[in-house]
Symmetry: C2
Subunit: 183 residues, 2 copies
């Protein structure tokens, strides 16, 4: 049964929302086309007529995750607030709605060029965001370098805090990195 163009566009949006969440939770290779279609309330056949292949869907879902994740960051914010939120227990425990860079980075080396392109654009976006928040007396080049190193700290602390089995060690990783970046 066919639906209206409007409804089809909404369905596409639903697939992308479900995909960008599930991919962050279970990994790109850890979630099948079947599970994605079911989470969006469709059959996988329909999903294929919308996207053509899993790879194409992954490309759009990565772009979607990066775009929607960036949009709730206010334009003006103190860097310390950003760091605190990024390295919070809440962010650690909610990968599905959290930073796509941290959730997807390790799978990127094995993704297609199109997918990595979107991911790389996301990295550049966050680096630009952070650069703008660095001390204004620094030269642009220095600000960018500091932003790059800060992003590495943020992502590394979050993925390690999610990886280890021991809650105390996990908290310690977040806390130590917070104080190193803020203080």
């Amino acid at each position: 049964m066919r639906v209206s163009k409007e409804q089809a566009a909404k369905n596409r949006e639903r697939i992308l929302n479900a995909a960008s969440r599930l991919m962050r939770e279970r990994g790109i290779s850890g979630v099948g086309v079947d599970a994605l279609a079911e989470a969006a309330g469709m059959t996988h056949g329909s999903l294929y007529s919308q996207f053509g292949s899993k790879e194409r869907l992954v490309e759009e879902a990565v772009a979607h995750a990066i775009a929607t994740n960036g949009q709730d960051v206010p334009k003006v914010f103190p860097l310390g607030d950003y760091v605190s939120e990024y390295l919070s227990a809440a962010h650690r425990d909610e990968p599905g709605s959290g930073c796509p860079l941290a959730a997807l980075c390790c799978e990127m080396p094995r993704q297609s060029g199109g997918v990595r392109e979107r991911f790389t654009a996301g990295v550049r976006g966050v680096v630009a965001l952070l650069s703008g928040r660095m001390e204004s007396q620094l030269k642009p080049r220095q600000r960018e370098d500091k932003a790059l190193a800060t992003l590495a700290s943020l992502v590394g602390a979050l993925v390690l805090a999610r990886a280890v089995n021991d809650p105390k060690l996990s908290d310690d990783i977040l806390r130590a990195t917070r104080s190193r970046l803020s203080g």
Copy 2:
């Protein structure tokens, strides 16, 4: 055809070597039992009689990767040398023989307790190693915090440098993090 106990132990070692390398290159869920057995020159049936399940093999392979990767770090070394090597282009481009923490961290949240236990032990090992290299005037607690934050920077920079598509951006991530950790 049966082989000697000696030979069986060597075969086991061959499987672990192949597994710890392939898992770092392709991801834990990205490499099948079949591929692991083939890389070790055996059939997957034989692998199952040695390890019982993929999960058990992964546990041992993670422990093996951590143990063999740690052993070529000399006991005495300047921290700067460690950082330089960790954040080198060579390390970035050779995940199969590189740091297992960086290669496997993102899959850990979805691994069994036994696997995560081994990974966590590996994190503690590197933190202890780094703590011992921090400025001796710091209190033990401060040294550990600095080691935790340093490890987060190292891992984050390496996974991001591997993830992005653009060689220049990748080099910049490594360089900026090196200068931030050394200078």
